[in-house]
Symmetry: C2
Subunit: 144 residues, 2 copies
DNA sequence: TATATTTATCTCGAATTCGAGATATCTAAA
DNA sequence: TTTAGATATCTCGAATTCGAGATAAATATA
């Protein structure tokens, strides 16, 4: 593969790697009865605190109507509650329940280890460069 | 962000970039009435020739039952036909129709240009390293 | 103040993807 | 040859995601 088709090769490699990683996450979450989106929401709330539905959608790149569905699921499993915003009555926060917090505190360290595994064949120095480059690519794509 | 959480940062950056790129592709294909999966199938057939349903699924990482659905859609649009395999009667090939070939021959050069745009902020040398690293990461994830 | 616009969430129906199981065919082993 | 297991495709129902539109609330403008 020479330079001519480098961007297309980069595209393929990038998208396939993402799919494989997402598959790892999907399998890791299955025993907990979570899909990757539900996990992403729990992780967001755990690390960033209560978040408006709207903001969750922006952070994990999912439409607001889809977030409503995911939060419904998590509420049904008693991992999340909806909390009305006092200042702006249009806004509803999603908030971890004690059960939700306990679950994500169990899952997250395992997830972190697994991701260290995924990236273990790439040196720290290499990974730093990769992050820089992929950031540029992501920003560019976002702006298009 | 120091090294402690580098793998998690890499994960986020990688998955988000992929989502943004896929969104670019989705929007680019919309005027042609194709979704990204349908485009991926047409592109595969265009570059690799007729392919068994099964193989298409492996190449674009989609379940065989989903490929059946996608190929049905493309057959309905008259871009693809099913061709029985003479040697192995279990196998059905998907094959581009003249209309399908004409369409992908129109779309593909535009797609290529767009992807060059996506990656234009990263030098060729940089991109070579990125491809190497992401390949390693993808292989690792695939093996887990 | 009254009206128009924007924003946040939700409802609803459609599209896409999946997994489990069915069917037909092929291959290997007894 | 017959049987058992493997393989390729498809059917079906469920899960997930989306976009369009509805509703309520906040904000900006006349």
């Amino acid at each position: 593969m020479i330079n001519e088709n480098q961007p297309l090769q980069a595209l393929t490699v990038l998208l396939r790697a993402s799919q494989h990683i997402q598959e790892v996450i999907r399998k890791d979450m299955m025993p907990y009865g979570l899909n990757p989106t539900e996990f992403a929401v729990l992780e967001l709330l755990y690390h960033k605190g209560d978040q408006p539905i709207q903001v969750i959608g922006q952070k994990i790149l999912i439409a607001s109507s889809s977030i409503t569905y995911v939060v419904d699921k998590l509420v049904g499993k008693n991992y999340v509650t909806r909390v009305a915003c006092a200042e702006d009555k249009r806004v509803t926060y999603a908030s971890l329940t004690p059960e939700g917090r306990a679950l994500i505190m169990t899952i997250f360290p395992e997830h972190k280890k697994r991701m260290e595994e995924v990236f273990e064949d790439v040196s720290l120095n290499e990974l730093t460069h990769v992050i820089d480059s992929i950031k540029k690519i992501g920003y560019k794509a976002q702006s298009m």
